[in-house]
Symmetry: none
Subunit: 253 residues, 2 copies
Amino acid sequence: MLAAERKLKIIDYVRKHSVASVAQLSQDFGVHEATIRRDLSEIEKEGRLRRTHGGVVLVERVSSEPSFTVRVNERVEEKTSIAERAIEMINEGDSIILDSGTTTFQIARLLSAKSNITVVTNDIKIAAELQNNKDIKVIVTGGVLSPESYMLNGLFTDHALKKLHVTKAFIVIPAIHPKLGLTHFDDQFVSAKRSMIESAEQTIVVTDHTKLGGVSLHNVAPVAQIDVLITGKEASETQVKQFQEAGVTVYTV
Amino acid sequence: MLAAERKLKIIDYVRKHSVASVAQLSQDFGVHEATIRRDLSEIEKEGRLRRTHGGVVLVERVSSEPSFTVRVNERVEEKTSIAERAIEMINEGDSIILDSGTTTFQIARLLSAKSNITVVTNDIKIAAELQNNKDIKVIVTGGVLSPESYMLNGLFTDHALKKLHVTKAFIVIPAIHPKLGLTHFDDQFVSAKRSMIESAEQTIVVTDHTKLGGVSLHNVAPVAQIDVLITGKEASETQVKQFQEAGVTVYTV
DNA sequence: TCAATTTTCTTTCAGCAGCAAGCAATGGTT
DNA sequence: AACCATTGCTTGCTGCTGAAAGAAAATTGA
């Protein structure tokens, strides 16, 4: 059996059983434990499984991104500043998309100051936050609820987003690069974000400075589709310049 | 068993049973109590459970956060009893619809005891309640959020419901009459409820006894489409009999 | 309320299983 | 023949576990 083949079978096995031990895999495949360990190290480097003492377990989505409760408490100040700047861009009568995320959740919080706004969101926590505001109409996209966040995703989400047209979309992305554009570590979230960008006249990316220059596996959109980038003042001048040269209006707050 | 595997199983166990003792976990997994304590400390550090003297409990639900404040409900006891009876009807592997409402919210609360369930709902509060349960897949219908409740409604709701097929639908209705069937005072909610009934193999109406015999303006569905009615024991025998004669299985709890 | 008692918790230590790293052997490719 | 990738083996090291002991918390009975 080829090494690559064995690695694929290991991944398959763990997908099915959630866990596997080095000893057992070694026996099943009839190779030395050291070989299995080497395989596991490589698989882990590819981010497909997580190694533990004695074996390997499934990657939880949490490990690629911490849970909402954790994230909401990270870099709160930067997120709030970004949200405040974002709010300034929203005018009376606008219909906007708020992508699921903690920064956009801050935008939702501040939105109560505005009136006559329609908000489209794929985040039930954002929806709940806006729920008791009579001056804001909230449209929830629908879809499958992520167990580790409040995001909706899937066919219904895409369908809803494709049927709508808004003036501004506020997008969250875990990696944005001046040349390689917006990328995401999980392909299942790509479709929704693309639809959001397509449904909006103007696309605004809100993200803290740690995401700048990052690249992930799955391509979401080129930089050319981004109109505005709002990020923290911690962003380096070099980074900001690179985005500006790519035609993006950058606000650092 | 791997240490990591054991930790995952502990979390699973507590998710289902809400609590667990060190002694019992130690016995179940056949490891020393000190080992369990070490596991619990680590799990707590990850923020997934909360330690107590002698064991471990679930972390407080996110739904207790301000944006999901629980409204004070009337007839909570009756609703809880109805929910308990409803839960008994749900089997492993079922996919169910939970209509928006406080009685169905109680069903959602009790659902955590079940596993391998798919829940379709048009209520973001119900969705939030089920969100951190890994054994339950939650599909939100999408739609416009009602300012006075957590209900989603409108074209997206109808579209999603029409695309789905479930084994059981738990429907809430403000008026149900043995001859005139299900009626609603607001026509905008009629379409969703009809779709729910059509999408389900079995339709179960859950409602407190004050709604029995009531009639409103807009017709939703005839009694013939109802399979089961779960209501409070306060319902009069005459009323119950009338529904039974119309072919409905009635449970008074 | 307080002190005695019991239970549970934390810390420490030793033993063992699992681990990374280096090296040699194998087999295939240039 | 030289080279490279892959595997198996060995070695010293790391991390997990159970046992024990002292600390802390809960319970009991006055």
